[in-house]
Amino acid sequence: MTTSTSPPARPRGRWRLPALAASGLLTGLLLAGGTLTLWTADTAGAVGTVVSGDLRIDLSGPPRWDETSTDVEAPQQDLDPAAFLARPGDTVELTQAFDVALTGDNMRAGTTVRWSHPADLPAGISAEYVILDAADQPLIPSTPVGTQADLPTLVSDNDGRTEQYTLQVALSFAADGEDRFGPQAPVVLADLGTIELLLEQIRTGDGATP
């Protein structure tokens, strides 16, 4: 007696949908994921652990406000900006220290000073800013508040680097500026807006630009 066996019937189309899904996913990744391809290509075949770099910007301490009016005998130091009452002829300086840290092979980064909420300076009030390095040397020329400025690009390696910068804003109330008459007069506020200190990685070369 011979017994013939035949392979069991495969359910038709059982793997068809998963295959299509996988195919679609891969196609989407390939079409849109140039950068992702670079990352995987760089690390393919590597032995050991790939450690990512680091990029960080931090304010160093609270902001400091100092009166700089040259005609005032004892200008106020480290004043409370919420309590200080400026008058025409006054000059005041805001100082904010911040640190920039980079770590990583070929890490390049740029620091930008820009405004996420615009400044509002009434007529007769002006403000300019500079960024100083750790040696108190200006990295950019004096720039009107509200105008974006880019600091020199920083380059790092795996050992990393940290730079200490200082933002210095000089507020000036023109001596012939408008005065307020009485407590009922509209409030005049010199609003510096929201200053954003942005540190961004810079990459160059093919496929590096997103």
Partner: protein, 236 residues
């Protein structure tokens, strides 16, 4: 009309394609790193205030660097004509915040040709409104006051909201209204009558002479005050 439904396979493939593309685009964005910090700040401006008026009344704030104290001419002239003396106190409030001082000057007006013009009028500083009375003698003012000027607020920084109040006194004295007095006429007549007897008769009469000045015609007067603010080191 018939409508063709996309096949199940096409739907699955398209969905997977979209998921893959989304993941990849997200991966590309994350490939560039960034970090940011934010800070904000603002400064408010202070104000100045200068107002003049009768003590205890609503003072009139200065408009454009000047204010004035109004005098009811008829009331003052009437009191002067009746009592020979009249006085009124003036309150001056000064406030200047921040690094600005305040200085002011009052100017004695031309009192005109009326009753106040005929009186001896003097304006001087007094420590309090009750020190302003008819016939009072002026007291020495503080160092911040000189003649008709004062610097009540120095240019040193202040965040005060309370004004500095100073008081002045207008004092007038009138001995008599111009042209007033007494008139007396004395007449004596002598004659000889037909019988050759000398006769004489006398008579006299008098009158009080009033002034042509009428308190009801006294115009109102105003004492102008002008003020200015000044920075530290600047002369007021």
């Amino acid at each position: 009309m018939t409508r063709t439904r996309p096949s199940r396979s096409a739907v699955v493939f398209a969905g997977s394609l979209a998921v893959g593309a989304t993941l990849a685009i997200g991966g590309a964005s994350l490939a560039l790193w960034s970090d940011a910090e934010h800070l904000s700040g603002s400064l408010a401006m202070g104000y100045e205030r200068f107002a003049v008026g009768a003590p205890g009344a609503d003072l009139i704030p200065a408009d454009g660097g000047s204010a004035s104290f109004a005098i009811d001419g008829q009331d003052a002239a009437s009191t002067l004509a009746t009592d020979g003396q009249w006085a009124a106190a003036i309150q001056v409030d000064s406030l200047s915040q921040g690094n600005k001082g305040l200085h002011y000057t009052l100017t004695e007006p031309d009192w005109g040709e009326g009753i106040l013009g005929a009186a001896a009028v003097e304006i001087f500083w007094v420590p309090a409104p009750e020190d302003c009375r008819p016939g009072v003698t002026p007291t020495p003012p503080p160092a911040t006051v000189e003649d008709h000027t004062s610097t009540p607020v120095p240019a040193t920084y202040t965040a005060n909201t309370e004004a500095v109040s100073e008081f002045w006194c207008i004092q007038a004295e009138l001995d008599a209204l111009p042209g007033t007095g007494e008139y007396r006429n004395l007449a004596r007549v002598t004659a000889t009558d037909p019988s050759d007897i000398q006769v004489e008769s006398t008579d006299d009469w008098n009158a009080l002479v009033g002034s042509h000045l009428d308190p009801a015609e006294e115009p109102d007067h105003a004492i102008p005050f002008t003020y200015s603010t000044f920075r530290p080191g600047d002369a007021p």
